[in-house]
Amino acid sequence: ETAVFQTPNYHVTQVGNEVSFNCKQTLGHDTMYWYKQDSKKLLKIMFSYNNKQLIVNETVPRRFSPQSSDKAHLNLRIKSVEPEDSAVYLCASSPTDWINQDTQYFGPGTRLLVL
């Protein structure tokens, strides 16, 4: 049963455009994440949010900006996309004390293709 929802599933755009991806979780978790998965399946964390506060901001380009309205929603905006941004963007959520209780739950991902 899907509990982490992402929209859109797929997005094609041209270099220089702005895109936004949405993520919603219905698990009641207070921590959410954005990961980037490239064509070789490499998974790298981009951002981590706990109760709407940014916890981890990995060295991603400044054109990427996460936005959270509440602990159930975490969006990702990319200003002026570039070809190397083509990837699958995965949203995940977890309880804060997930190591002893639970784990990260991933959404199905948003596949971005930059032409």
Partner: protein, 111 residues
């Protein structure tokens, strides 16, 4: 250094065989090691996990072993099935906010 090395990159086994995936790490602060399974078009899903205080955890056909001294872990899949064909990731974490993933192993189980 926060890095997780995973091998092999790709693996093909016959149905009914045993699959063994391995990972190693360097950062001694890691204390939680999950394994994720990912099918095409889907996000990763937790398969099995182990804490650094344990050396073995079993769940059906899946067993993960952990060696703290050598900083190594492995995933064993017995009686491998074609439905097990997927990409498997090992990961390591010391807190809830940052998980380091290995590069993944593409497993193909042939009938």
């Amino acid at each position: 250094q926060q890095q997780v090395r995973q091998s092999p990159q790709s693996l093909t086994v016959w149905e009914g065989g045993t699959t063994v995936l391995t990972c190693s790490y360097e950062d001694s602060t890691f204390n939680y090691f999950p394994w994720y399974q990912q099918f095409p078009g889907e996000g990763p899903a937790l398969l099995i996990s182990i804490l650094s205080v344990s050396d073995k955890k079993e769940d059906g056909r899946f067993t993960t072993f952990f060696n703290k001294r050598e900083k190594k872990l492995s995933l064993h899949i017995i009686d491998s099935q074609p439905g097990d064909s997927a990409t498997y990731f090992c990961a390591a974490s010391e807190n809830a906010y940052k998980v380091i993933f290995g590069k993944g192993t593409h497993l193909h189980v042939l009938p």
